[in-house]
């Protein structure tokens, strides 16, 4: 379970990026984090594994407060937190297998990782994960030889190789086409359900989020303005989060590419005609 308590981040210049964000993610729950760009979504996710140092507040992963760990304990905590990145962030010139195995780096000593001699069960597990995400045949290819969707699957396998207790997902579908986006989101939610993993998914595509996540948190200018199930998000709330806009128009626009085949994808706004 993840608990955020009055998390605040102030960058040296400008307004605070996060203001008193407090919420709790129980096991197995997938939380979608929505909000306009610059609202602090990415900062929030990076504060949790301290790729960005939070200014104040507390973050509890089960019992440990992540905000006050020394560098060694921080590394131990980080390996319990899997992270999936926008635009994959794979090490492009390493093989798929090496990328997955890099999820084990926190567990093995330097000489093992240096000579690429990972323990047998790590390798076995890596193969199992590659099979799970459907890339078993590509294990020895270089990461930059894969397509976008395949790369993001490698990113997922890398995060899972850490045997995480929490998943942080940063814009997993940016730069993917609509169909692949859906497949990736489905894969992430399935895996979270299988492993009872709590997850925070930072996502800009509201209809996609509504379709897959259990709960939505809306951020605006660093403050939480919405926290409820996806079907409670209505037009007034969207305007509150993103600013005024004709949301029914967005509905149609988004439906166009694959309107007839996937009817259930359309925006599930209570007020909109679907």
């Amino acid at each position: 379970m993840l608990t955020l308590n009055q998390l605040t981040k102030v960058y040296s210049v400008g307004d605070p990026a996060l203001r008193d964000v407090t919420f709790r993610v129980p096991r197995g729950q997938v939380v979608g984090l929505i909000g306009p760009s610059g609202a602090g979504k990415s900062t929030l996710i990076r504060c949790i594994n301290r790729l960005v140092e939070p200014s104040s507040g507390a973050i509890y992963l089960d019992e440990t407060d992540l905000t006050c760990l020394g560098s060694r304990e921080l590394r131990r905590a980080r390996r319990r937190i899997g992270m999936i990145f926008q635009e994959y962030a794979l090490v492009e010139r390493l093989t798929v297998m090496e990328n997955v195995l890099s999820g084990r780096l926190g567990y093995v000593p330097f000489w093992r990782s240096f000579t690429r001699r990972f323990p047998g069960h790590d390798i076995e597990n890596a193969y199992r994960l590659l099979d799970r995400v459907g890339l078993l045949a590509h294990a020895d290819k270089r990461a930059d030889a894969l397509s976008g969707g395949q790369r993001q699957r490698v990113g997922i396998a890398r995060a899972l190789a850490q045997e995480p207790e929490l998943l942080l997902v940063d814009e997993p579908t940016a730069s993917l086409d609509p169909k692949t986006s859906r497949q990736i989101m489905r894969l992430i939610t399935e895996i979270c359900a299988e492993r009872q993993l709590p997850a925070i998914v930072n996502i800009h595509d509201v209809p996609l989020a509504q379709q897959f996540v259990d709960r939505l948190v809306g951020l605006r200018a660093g403050q939480m303005v919405f926290d409820d199930t996806p079907d409670r998000l209505d037009e007034t709330m969207l305007s509150e989060i993103y600013g005024a806009e004709d949301w029914t128009a967005m509905d149609q626009e988004d439906d166009e590419p694959e309107s007839s085949s996937d009817a259930q994808i359309s925006l599930r706004l209570p007020g909109a005609a679907t």
Binding site: M97, R116, G120, I123, E124, N125, A126, D131, R132, D140
Partner: protein, 269 residues
């Protein structure tokens, strides 16, 4: 997805660079063999090296406590020679490189002109400054005039080559557009080529100014004037504190000119 299949517990990184097995085995052997041979042909006089260490320490001391004063007259003269011959050589070199660079551009010049200009460039680039300097000193006598000629000659190869490559890369559509207006050869160069290439030419000249100063510190060793001659004398007399002072001055001037030229390039473009 196969649910309970056994997965391998071993994995080896597929070779990335050398993919044939035979070469993967022989390549390291060749490298080791070369290293053994090469290191074997080194005749290191251990006694001389040990003796040298104390001298090395003295040199480092001289570097840390440079003596600018006692040889200041020589240093000043050397620096003036170096700086003046750097500037004049760069100006003359660039002036000569412009026609040669245009001549060496395939998209502008007729074939014979192209070949002549390219071979001038090739000769100037393949001979090192110091070898040119040896010959020019033999012909023109000791002093900065030979140095000036050396640097100017070396600049031609450098600037003309890069200029020609630049012109060849200049947008063909712009050249075509101007040509279509019925412009003459010179007008073509003025309107289609010059605007595209001019900022690069200025950048190249400033860069070459840098290089020429550095080289001017070297060619003095064979008698072509400049700070190199002063340095050579200082080292011959084992005056490491003066040598340290000269080297520090050279480093400082190179740093200054590097920052200055990158600043100038930024403002001019």
């Amino acid at each position: 997805m196969t649910a309970n299949a056994a997965y391998p517990r071993r994995w080896k990184r597929p070779p990335q660079l050398v993919t044939t097995r035979r070469w993967r085995l022989t390549l390291p052997l060749l490298v080791v063999a070369y290293l053994v041979l090469a290191l074997g042909s080194l005749e290191i006089d251990a006694g001389r090296v040990v003796e040298g260490l104390s001298r090395g320490a003295r040199f480092i001391q001289g570097f840390l406590q440079p003596d600018f004063v006692s040889r200041w007259q020589d240093i000043r003269q050397g620096l003036i020679e170096s700086l003046t011959m750097t500037l004049t050589a760069t100006v003359v070199g660039v002036l000569i490189s412009v026609p040669i660079g245009i001549g060496a551009a395939r998209n502008l010049s007729p074939r014979p002109v192209y070949l002549v200009c390219r071979s001038i460039v090739a000769v100037s680039r393949s001979l090192q400054e110091i070898i040119i300097a040896i010959f020019l000193v033999a012909m023109f006598g000791f002093g900065p005039f030979a140095g000036f000629l050396t640097l100017a000659f070396a600049s031609i190869g450098f600037v003309a080559k890069l200029l020609a490559d630049d012109i060849e890369e200049a947008s063909a559509s712009q050249i075509e557009a101007i040509r279509a207006t019925g412009a003459s050869g010179l007008q073509l160069i003025h309107y289609a080529i010059q605007p595209q290439v001019m900022p690069r030419l200025i950048g190249l000249s400033l860069y070459r100014l840098d290089i020429n100063f550095r080289e001017s510190a070297v060619i003095g060793i064979v008698g072509a004037g400049g700070i190199g001659a002063t340095l050579n004398t200082a080292i011959d007399r084992y005056e490491y504190d003066s040598a340290g002072a000269i080297l520090l001055l050279v480093i400082a001037i190179v740093m200054l000119s590097e920052y200055g030229s990158s600043y100038l390039r930024k403002t001019l473009q």
